[in-house]
């Protein structure tokens, strides 16, 4: 597969390490009252669609950026690639 890196352009997916469901960005607050339930859902119940999937890839053999790749799990077609850091910020994650 080829991942069109937002900075580097097309790169072989072999250069990347896969993590999975991009919701892993949305880490719950560990100090919140319902943390155990929230973390159970966060860690164990991930998206697994047959179709479009937003997922995290790490450019381990490249620029070490984490990417959010939108990829169809049936056709493997990739429709969007973003820097995970930008996505995380957009989703309101900060410090």
């Amino acid at each position: 597969m080829i991942i069109n890196h937002p900075l580097l352009g097309p790169c072989d997916a072999q250069e990347f390490t896969y993590l999975g469901d991009a919701r892993l960005i949305d880490r719950p607050d560990g100090m919140a009252g319902d943390a155990e339930d929230a973390f159970y859902h966060y860690a164990y119940l991930r998206d697994n669609p047959a179709g479009e999937h937003r997922e995290l890839w790490f450019h381990e053999q490249g620029d070490r950026s984490w990417l959010v790749v939108t990829r169809n799990t049936v056709t493997h077609q990739i429709t969007s690639v973003e820097l995970a850091r930008d996505v995380a910020r957009k989703q309101g994650r900060g410090v």
Partner: protein, 189 residues
């Protein structure tokens, strides 16, 4: 001046040089390297300050540059590796310390001099050699390109410049990388 004798990454006191067909592969041990990563919110300032240190603009994505004394290549967003001569005689002027002094709180600077082995590869037919080593499109590796890639399972930087190609690989695997370069060259030529 300390009296510890350096070893090259290939484990000898003098750099190794191999010529195979039209290509010459030379270990280059006399380089100092330091990473420069812009601190949060300091991207622009750091890029500018680095340019002034380098005497040329800081390399853009997947680029390398050479200034009057120092060179640099792009490693990640707002992060570069600066390369200069390794001054064996005067460790006080070590590159990382100099950069830190210049860049201050704009950047995190880390000495990387010992982390890499460097091979300079020059001659005709570099395309035929590198197509057996890594998946970079050598036709697009114009002068001034710097890419990270994999060579026989090793994460390496390949820099393309007027003098040929430079390969930076993990220092501990210098012998494996050297073996890969040599074997591929024998296969290609």
């Amino acid at each position: 001046m300390h009296d510890l004798a350096p070893l090259t990454a290939l484990g000898s006191s003098a750099p190794q040089r191999d010529t195979i067909g039209p290509v010459t592969i030379t270990e280059n041990p006399d380089r100092a390297l330091a990473s420069v990563a812009a601190r949060l919110g300091q991207d622009a300032a750091c890029t500018k300050a680095l340019a002034s240190v380098l005497g040329t603009s800081a390399p853009d994505v997947a680029q390398c540059v050479q200034g009057p004394a120092l060179g640099a290549f792009w490693m990640a967003q707002h992060c570069w590796i600066v390369d200069g001569p390794y001054d064996l005689d005067d460790p006080q002027t070590d590159l990382a310390a100099r950069l830190k002094a210049e860049l201050g709180d704009m950047a995190s600077v880390t000495d990387q001099s010992g982390a890499w082995v460097r091979f300079d590869v020059h001659g005709d037919g570099l395309g035929a050699l590198f197509e057996r080593l890594c998946n970079l499109d050598m036709a697009r590796m114009t002068d001034g390109t710097a890419r990270r890639t994999m060579i026989d399972h090793l994460g390496c930087f390949v820099l393309s410049h007027r003098g040929g190609n430079t390969v930076y690989g993990p220092r501990s695997s210098a012998q494996s990388l050297h073996h890969a370069l040599i074997t591929a060259a024998r296969s290609a030529f």
